[in-house]
């Protein structure tokens, strides 16, 4: 049993004039890999953005590693140890691979005795070393995903937020990424919270999950349920 690394209580937040999140609560222990699933428009991305702080929570509380971060700026939350990989990767297209990774050095910079983990990144994603001087915008989708993850992990954060990591990527690459993430979770005690719609990745990676609909969490999924395809269809498909 580890300590709670992320606690979200009754969050309301919006994107425009309406409330997208209508009272979301969840908690994650250190070392877990947790999935958030649901169809489009249910608020999964809004949840991720609220956790990292790009969207401020209108009501409710967020605690990271025991610290109150509800009103803390995104930048500070990142420096406290949260790595964020948004939907669509959002790597810096006009920066080289090396420069992209460099921008990740601010993540977790507030932690004492933190070390930069280029070794880890290159070990899991050797292509990032091969193509260090290539412009980020010229990489393929899968390579960009690896770069985005590498950028988030270079600082050695404790919590990794991933928003639909499989979107637009070949199945083989998805599998590779899944394997790397599982290893990192084991060896580095990296907690992972990820939003996904891809049944395969959910089944491989997640230890448990939450299903969302219309801005709320409607079900908590046990370990075996996240691997049950028929069960997942209810929350994902048409």
């Amino acid at each position: 049993m580890g300590s709670k690394i992320l606690e979200i209580s009754d969050i309301y937040s919006s994107y425009g004039s309406g409330d997208v999140l209508q009272g979301v609560s969840l908690s994650i222990e250190e070392g877990e890999i947790v999935a958030v699933i649901g169809r489009n428009g249910v608020g999964k991305t809004t949840l991720m953005k609220t956790v990292i702080g790009i969207i401020p929570a209108r009501a409710g509380r967020i605690r990271f590693a025991g610290d109150e971060v509800t009103t803390l700026a995104a930048r500070k939350r990142s420096m406290k140890g949260i790595g964020y990989v948004p939907q669509g990767r959002q790597i810096f297209p006009e920066l080289t691979v090396d420069e992209n990774l460099l921008t990740g050095e601010q993540v977790n910079s507030l932690s004492k005795n933190r070390q930069l983990r280029y070794d880890l990144i290159y070990a899991h994603f050797p292509i990032l070393k091969e193509r260090r001087h290539q412009l980020g915008g010229t990489l393929s989708g899968g390579q960009q995903q690896m770069l985005a993850i590498g950028r988030a992990l270079v600082g050695g954060p404790r919590l990794l937020l991933l928003d639909e990591p499989s979107a637009g990527i070949q199945p083989t690459i998805i599998r590779e990424i899944g394997t790397s993430l599982m290893e990192l979770n084991k060896t580095e005690k990296l907690t992972i919270l990820f939003v996904e719609q891809n049944v395969g990745l959910i089944g491989t990676l997640a230890q448990r999950g939450y299903a969302m609909d219309k801005g709320r969490i409607v079900t908590e999924l046990e370990g075996n349920q996240v691997r049950d395809r028929e069960f997942l269809i209810k929350y994902l498909a048409v």
Binding site: I52, G53, I54, A73, A74, R75, S78, M79, G83, Y84, P86, Q90, F92, P93, E94, L95, E99, L102, T103, G104, Q106, V107, N108, S109, L135, G137, T138, L139, S140, G141, G142, Q143, R151, A152, G155, Q170, I173
Partner: protein, 298 residues
């Protein structure tokens, strides 16, 4: 005969381009990073010139006067950014109007406090000849300095950590924030750097002009035009491309028909370029690149 003509044209071109480049460099950095237009830019240049003159007559060597100008105006820039500019982030029109107010205050304030003119700095009398004409070595030096400044800027953007963070912020500010980059600090730094460049421009041109409180207006107008034609997407490409192109248009016109026609030609060229490339030269170049560079399939 040819060598006289060519020599003259080259000199004029270098002179014109240097003027546009030095005027615009500071302003285009601010546009690129903060997305605003600072209409007090000319007045920052004027302050640089005035500080240079005052330090010169205080006995400092010329090079030190330049350094003092840069430092003074940079610090003033930080002050401006923290107290005024950051209230207008992303509000370009508002920033334009507010900085115009600042420019009026600075220029008229200077007139009231320091009088209608400042003691001029003597122009270093370096001369050289091409063919039958002799030219001012100082002005050619300004062209060289302008190019060196572009190089320094390049070093900042590509070799210095803060510069790389700045480029990241320019490309995707929200993403930069969410991975811990101090985008606000970078904005202030960019303004300070832009102001510093302005101060240096003023100091450099001080020996070539009469120092009056309104001397900034000439710089503002030309800087403004050059920056808009250049575009903020890539300050280096924009500043170089714009100043070169506009100087290319203005030089033959000025040499053949006089300053007035040269200026009008420049302005008309600017109008046409903006019409064809609404995001400026650098915007056009960046669009072109992203359209034709395809993601490499594995």
């Amino acid at each position: 005969m040819i060598i006289n003509l060519v020599g003259n044209l080259l000199y004029q071109f270098a002179d014109n381009m240097a003027f546009l480049l030095l005027s615009a460099l500071g302003l285009i950095i601010i546009l690129g990073v903060l997305n605003i237009i600072n209409l007090a830019h000319g007045e920052l240049i004027m302050i640089g010139a005035y500080v240079a003159s005052m330090s010169y007559y205080a006995g400092f060597p010329l090079w030190l006067c330049f350094v003092l100008s840069v430092v003074t105006v940079s610090l003033f820039g930080v002050f401006l950014e923290r107290f005024v500019i950051n209230r207008f982030s992303e509000n370009r029109i508002g920033a334009m109007v507010a900085t115009w107010g600042i420019s009026l205050i600075i220029s008229q304030g200077t007139l009231i406090v320091l009088g209608p003119s400042m003691r001029p700095i003597p122009l270093p009398p370096w001369k050289f000849s091409i063919g039958a004409y002799s030219y001012s070595g100082y002005r050619v030096l300004l062209f060289v300095v302008a190019l060196i400044l572009v190089f320094v800027l390049w070093l900042y953007f590509y070799k210095v950590r803060a510069g790389i963070f700045t480029r990241a912020t320019m490309q995707d500010e929200e993403m930069a924030k969410s991975i811990g980059i101090n985008t606000v600090g970078i904005g202030t730094l960019a303004f300070a750097v832009g102001a510093g460049f302005a101060g240096l421009t003023g100091a450099l041109y001080a020996p070539t002009m009469s120092l009056v409180p309104l001397m900034g207006t000439v710089f503002t107008a030309m800087a403004f035009i050059t920056v808009v034609v250049g575009g903020g997407a890539n300050p280096i490409v924009g500043a170089l491309g714009s100043s070169a192109l506009l100087a290319l248009v203005a030089t033959p016109l000025t040499t053949s028909f006089g300053t007035f026609i040269g200026r009008v030609g420049l302005l008309i060229a600017a109008l046409l370029i903006i019409r064809v490339m609404p995001n400026g030269i650098s915007g056009f170049v960046m669009d072109f690149r992203s359209r034709h560079i395809r993601t490499v399939k594995e």
